[in-house]
Symmetry: C2
Subunit: 416 residues, 2 copies
């Protein structure tokens, strides 16, 4: 090898992210928050490989065939199998539930936090890979299941520190929309146009919306004033009984075409600069029908890590970074390394997270390293400290020092 | 859509696994154990996408070009970029460290628990996808760093409940082997054969090993009796000072060709039926040189989830499965669902994980569902219970019941 060899780029692959310790710490906070709320509602975690047979995404008709070909990472393996990096988790969980429907008890509550891939132009909030909480309840037709799903979503928002003023839950109904289409006598094509128009409503002007509704023979103001349908009314009442009040009927909520068959909802950011849907979900009734003839009803939602991070950032709700390491031990000279190791190991045995510097650099540079790592406390091991058995613990933020005997070190850190 | 449509298989893609709740619970236990030990030693977590530019794996010469072409998932994306699903994490972490070498402090301690992919025939313990703890320390030439790496490995084994009798740490040295090759006057090709032979030692018979060593002009018994080299002796002494005693020099430990340049180690299962290396690691000195001209020394190890699970299973160290859900609320009739929801929400507010049945099925079947979910306690909400404000909490394992007033429910579960 020659030193003149061309050097490799340190950039990650286009549209995906590296998670350095600060990014990963936020990600772990996200996971822990998702997990704790989902588990409180009786959901249990599952997971699967990102690799799925491509057929899993093609089976829903021509529209999906196009999606698989153009918007996913799909390739042929050496065994001539067509493989896709999952673009969403719902088909996977439907596959897993169908595979063990006899052993699994229903209602079945499942959650997962998978990464999903979309082949698209990277842009803010639309990377090629993101992580997505998926919360699903299978096997109950009760509207209480729809209400619970919304309650889990709301409790996650609160667990992140959002108040009821920060977001609003808008509930719609596919049943209501289907009835409305029938009443208005819209054919299948015009019905599809209507649903697509509703789904795009927040992205177009009020004027355009009215015009396009008019072209479909619908008066937009009257549509917006339609009474709350009975399924939505019942869900809203149950959600309120669960202590969640920032919820209302919105006749325009449709959640696109895919899957949904009943009550649907979206969680909206109420921030004036970002009044958009953060995430949503709803009821779907026939996903497992791809695998066998007995469909299992499901209700659930998904939320992405990038959207959530943006929301928390704008609201000032991002937690400050603190490494798990509590103490950095620097050494006056390499001769002190064995003592530093022993002291560190004593502290670890009592549950204190400790990093040791092995003295490759001089003391001032060791302290700089501790600061770069954002470790809150520093202790220097030198001959004097070892002989006197007394150590000065330095708070690296304030600069203040506390003198402690060796046996008192652990309790100092454990009481922080 | 016709109901006679061909149904999709519920199998996952070949060679990868679905993680149902019990599998995921074990996986989470694995992650939590890895994390807690690594963090105690001052390591911080990072992560990256599974997608990497293929060049990352090709740059180490012809041998690797073959590996990339034949043993990885590599494909060309729509932008004509060659992409690989990472087969290992070390090149990724080297890339990330090189990208921010000015901002990161050294010594730098990093860990990650990524999934990695190999395109190979599925067999026991050798799936196409597995998860692998990676623990690396960058920027210290001190042998204390080598010792620390081994101590982290040993402490992970102990954290899983393994005793010093269950495993043995064997330490070798690439420096020692290189010196030995020079002394014996072996040329490059014979040197390579020698290293390969040592690496395959545990897979061939003692007789074959002796014969093949003899062909290289080396007397196997003398080789095995060589004195402990000074780097290994110092590492062993430091490791012992950290309270780890099941460690010894083994002149045959080489860890294959890739990366390693100094002290290397392997953790062996001492079980008579499975006396093999579980995992290992060592020092590598020039990985970041792919990206720039200033190499950063590293020392680290990787351990796979499948090997670890097999080890724990054989040793009877697998934890019993318990779902996070503590209580299952069944309802005498659908009229009781609103009360069940309110009681559940009260308990959740106090930190109890509760699942509610919405009464889609009769009571006996609701109880069966609770049992299938392995939830330990059951409570039935009916009109009598609501009126009397008294609930019978049933232990689903023993069948015993405890009568409690509504206000005492939370403390019952929190004191378990």
């Amino acid at each position: 090898m020659t030193s003149k060899k061309e050097k490799l780029s340190t950039e990650p692959y286009k549209g995906v992210r590296d998670f350095y310790p600060e990014d990963q710490a936020f990600f772990n906070y996200l996971l822990a928050t998702y997990r704790s709320v989902a588990e409180r509602f009786g959901y249990v975690e599952y997971h699967a490989s990102i690799l799925e047979p491509s057929d899993l995404y093609k089976s829903k008709g021509a529209e999906n065939e196009e999606m698989v070909n153009e918007q996913t990472y799909t390739f042929v393996d050496r065994g001539q199998r067509e493989v896709t990096l999952r673009p969403e988790m719902t088909p996977t969980v439907a596959r897993m539930v169908a595979a063990r429907r006899r052993e699994l008890g229903f209602p079945l509550r499942l959650f997962s936090i998978p990464n999903v891939f979309r082949y698209e132009r990277p842009q803010r909030g639309r990377l090629r890979e993101h992580w997505q909480l998926n919360v699903d309840l299978f096997g109950s037709k009760s509207l209480a299941a729809d209400a619970e799903s919304i309650a889990v979503a709301a409790d996650i928002m609160r667990a992140f520190g959002a108040t009821e003023d920060d977001f609003e839950i808008r509930i719609g109904s596919r049943t209501f929309l289907n009835n409305f289409l029938k009443e208005k006598g819209l054919d299948e094509e015009r019905g599809r146009k209507f649903i697509t128009l509703l789904d795009r409503r927040s992205k177009i002007s009020a004027g355009d919306f009215h015009t396009q509704m008019h072209e479909l023979g619908i008066d937009a103001p009257s549509f917006d004033q339609l009474p709350v349908p009975s399924d939505v009314a019942e869900v809203i009442e149950l959600v309120r009984s669960l202590g969640i009040h920032n919820v209302r009927f919105d006749s325009s909520i449709v959640r696109g075409f895919a899957y949904y068959t009943g009550v649907v909802f979206e969680v909206f950011d109420t921030h004036p600069d970002n009044n958009r849907a953060l995430f949503g979900g709803g009821r779907y009734d026939n996903l497992t029908a791809l695998f066998d003839d007995e469909p299992i009803t499901g209700v659930g939602f998904g939320m992405g890590d990038v959207t959530m991070r943006d929301f928390l950032e704008v609201r000032g709700l991002l937690p400050a970074y603190l490494p798990p390491t509590k103490l950095y031990i620097a050494v006056a000279s390499v001769e002190n390394v064995p003592d530093a190791l022993t002291i560190a190991q004593e502290l670890r045995a009592q549950g204190v997270a400790v990093a040791v510097d092995f003295g490759d650099k001089k003391l001032a540079d060791q302290i700089k390293a501790a600061t770069k790592h954002r470790v809150p406390y520093l202790l220097i091991v030198g001959q004097n400290e070892v002989t006197s058995n007394t150590f000065a613990v330095r708070d690296l933020t304030s600069g203040s020092e506390t003198k402690l005997s060796r046996k008192d070190l652990a309790s100092f850190f454990l009481s922080l």
